[in-house]
Amino acid sequence: MTPLDSSAALWNPREHNRNNCEWKLTVMATSAVARETVFALRRQIAKIEGTLPERLEAPAGAAPVDAPRNPTADVTLQNPTADIPPQDLTIVRRGLAVAPPDAFLRTGAEGLDTALSGGLPKAALSEIHGAATRDAGAVAGFALSLVSLILKQGPRLPVLWIGTAEIFREAGFPYARGLHALFGIEPEQLLFSEAPRLLDALWTAEEAARMTALAAVILEIRGSPQRLDLTATRRLHARAQNAGRPVFLLRQAGEPEPTAAPVRLVLSAAPSAPRETIAGPLAGSIGRPAFTVSIGKSRTALPGQFTLEWNPDERSFEERRTGEERAANPVPVVSASRRGKDPAAASGAVLAFPAVGSPAPGDQPSPGERAAHRRPRRAG
């Protein structure tokens, strides 16, 4: 494939997502010559955009896992990722290149951090989307766990949560007792602002975004209002950058729209793992909160999906291993019975890490999986 072809793919009007374009470029740039040409093009793009290009080696193993899940990267069919060694993948960062290393908030989940090349930007507007209003719990929970991570590192500063009256009515008002128990945010550290109209909420957020006396600002909006356009988000982003404080824009039931936020994460709830007891996982119980995070937009990251679990005691994230990894690394999920008997039928449903999106209880493991966890028992 000639470089001309690749540049044609880059500016294909069908493709709006730049991340996908970059991905394609990097995948196609297999030979050294082609890569040189690609970087020449990149430099040119950076020059036009007036930002600094920076080369970054992609971490090994991060991209191939995500590659098959990229739905729009149709090029991957022609160039299977298995042919490319991960070291050859190169991501070019723009805009954020001048940021110091501590400008990122590490979530602690390695996969997500590496995909976002260091974490979420601390001094920026970050969008967190939920597909429907019923996802408000997961969206708010994820944003609050990020706030909790910030508060864990930094000084005790208050957090302001701004919402329109509509969203607080539809999705429920934040409950300080639950926030304290789950995220360790004291009621004294919380401030809420309920604005009757979106315009007022935006104004409050703009005023709050430039304050350094707040640890973080959460702005919660429902739907895709016209007022929240590129200009409005750019103002928020610029103020957040100047103040050095994060602004989390929670959008419930909103469509992804062009905004100035460098990162957009799409959140949904993930089935939680059962509670851990001394005797093993407790069947049918609801354990720690879990989230499915997909990167909707990022200047650096490839689209990917991660399942994170929040640990309220440690106040940290743990990444849950995905289904493929578990298949690749078979472990008996049900421990071998000491008495040499098969475990009771009811406990057959206990899966430590059920597959994402499938109901855990009553779900029979596939024949392959069952064989996988029978194997060691026979050996023992």
């Binding site: 019923r134 008002f173 639950g178 401030l191």
Partner: protein
């Protein structure tokens, strides 16, 4: 001509000069008046509107003195003690008041005296008269009994014994008068003559501090008002500093040329005296009220008053000249939001000891919430473990203001969690459930006769997509005829 209903008949309550010229009188029946002059125009009286008008006039009179009181339905008391020199003496002040009212289209009679009673009589019976101190008796003597502000039945009985003027009552011996006509007559008399003090209770609380500026040229633009606020606040700062106080509530009074008065109040969560910050607060308030304030032909008097003040504690700055206080930033921010969006725009949660989830957190406006002075306790040290429950109950991160009813078709066990439920017209399948956690109502708070509020059994529910909810069943199966109802109360992370 204005009519009002008295007893069973429509009577004339007030009438204009042309109607008076037709020999119509107050208190005459409308039917009689119509019979005499069929073409008279009769309007129903509206005491509410009259009252509102009088109150707006009282607001306007605030420009002369902060002590303005309403007097019945048709009068105003102005306590101008110590104010007259600002307007060039008593006579010129009275003239100013009368001419301004005249230009606004009111027919006003005014009197000025050392006592409220004498001023009342002077206004109503000797128009535009200034009664020098000590001449109250001379003023009252020739006036009819009505000038004494006494009840009509006392007046009638006084007249029946031949005492027809105030002078005649004053000449009569006091003891028999008191015995026969009651104490109120002598009280009114003494008050009018200055033998007894009479307090006029002002309509509005008097501001401890206020500064104002009369303008030769009326101003209309918001920018100009804000600039003026800053100038006034600078003057105010010196006064506040002398008292060692800061303002907690401020009011800006804008007197429009045609008599309308706009009153704009802002509150602060900390005592404040910095002119720039005061200007900022009013900037937000004025921006929020932009539609409501009609500048008309402009404002010719602007007054800034401190409605309430509190002790202002000075802060020691470090050598770089900076004080480290993040709370002050937030307080100012909260004040500005509050100035624009109302008192409850910034809320602070305060934990309350209660089992009921909705009562366990109270949301207070930022300014009213208790400010924590001492830093929080360090974890691990000096921690009171006895009060902490061993098993912390799971609480949702979002709580609906009012629990939303859900439809639960069936439960596996009568006391168990639902298998599926319908909330907001969508069906949810319950994948896992934890519970119940029983929360009984607080019987010690319930009013008598309402003791039978059912208990709630709360369940944590995870649906098939992994979303976690907090549901409860109100009541028990079999406890009453009606099946217990289910509610959605919160959402977990």
């Amino acid at each position: 001509m204005i009519s009002h209903r008295q007893g069973n008949a429509q009577r004339i309550a007030a009438l204009d000069e042309r109607a008076e010229a037709l020999h119509l009188k107050r208190g005459m029946g409308i039917a009689d008046a119509r019979a005499m002059h069929p073409s008279v125009d009769v309007v129903e009286a509206n005491p509410e509107a009259d009252r509102r008008l009088l109150e707006s006039l009282a607001d306007w009179c605030d420009r002369y003195t902060p002590l303005v009181a309403l007097d019945a339905a048709d009068g105003l008391f102005l306590d101008v003690t110590g104010c007259t020199h600002l307007f060039g003496g008593e006579r010129s002040m009275l003239d100013d008041i009368l001419s301004r009212f005249f230009h606004q289209g009111f027919d006003v009679r005014a009197g000025l005296a050392a006592t409220p009673g004498a001023a009342w009589a002077a206004a109503r019976f000797a128009s535009d008269r200034i009664v020098p101190c000590g001449e109250e008796e001379a003023l009252l003597a020739p006036l009819p009994l009505a000038a004494l502000r006494i009840e009509p039945d006392i007046r009638a009985s006084l007249e029946s014994v031949g005492l027809r003027t105030a002078g005649a009552v004053m000449a009569a011996p006091r003891a028999p008068l008191a015995r026969r006509f009651g104490v109120s007559l002598l009280l009114r008399l003494d008050q009018a003559l200055g033998r007894l003090d009479e307090a006029v209770s002002p309509r509005l609380p008097m501001a401890p501090l206020s500064v104002e500026r009369h303008l030769a040229e009326p101003i209309m633009l918001t920018d100009e008002i804000e600039r003026l606020v800053k100038m006034l606040a600078t003057t105010l700062k010196a006064d506040l500093e002398r008292r060692g106080e800061g303002a907690r509530r401020l009011a800006l009074l804008l007197f429009r040329v045609d008599g309308a008065v706009s009153r704009i109040a802002v509150g602060t969560s900390r005592p404040l005296r910095e002119p720039l910050l005061i200007q900022k607060l009013f900037h937000e308030r004025l921006a929020a009220l932009e539609q409501d304030i009609d500048a008309g032909y402009g404002f010719d008097l602007v007054r800034l008053s401190v409605l309430s003040a509190a002790a202002f504690d000075m802060q020691q700055a470090d050598l770089a000249g900076e004080t480290r206080d993040d709370g002050a930033d937030i307080a100012l921010f909260a004040d500005r939001i509050r100035a624009r969006l109302g008192d409850s725009a910034v809320l602070k949660p305060v934990a309350v000891e209660s089992h009921l989830p909705e009562r366990a957190v109270a949301m207070l406006p930022y300014a009213e919430a208790p400010q924590r002075v001492s830093p929080p306790k360090k974890p691990g040290k000096m921690q009171d473990t006895s009060s902490k429950p061993v098993f912390r109950p799971e609480r949702p991160i979002r709580l609906f203001r009012s629990p939303e009813p859900i439809e639960v078709p069936a439960t596996e066990m009568p006391e168990g969690p639902p298998m599926n439920f319908r909330w907001r017209r969508a069906l949810y399948r319950v994948a896992r459930a934890e519970g119940p956690e029983r929360i009984a109502p607080e019987w010690w708070r319930e009013a008598a006769g309402q003791e039978d509020t059912p208990t709630r059994d709360y369940f944590r529910i995870e649906d098939s997509d992994g979303r976690r909810y907090w549901l409860y069943r109100q009541g028990l199966y079999g406890a009453s005829q009606a099946a217990p109802r289910w509610f959605m109360h919160g959402v977990f992370a």
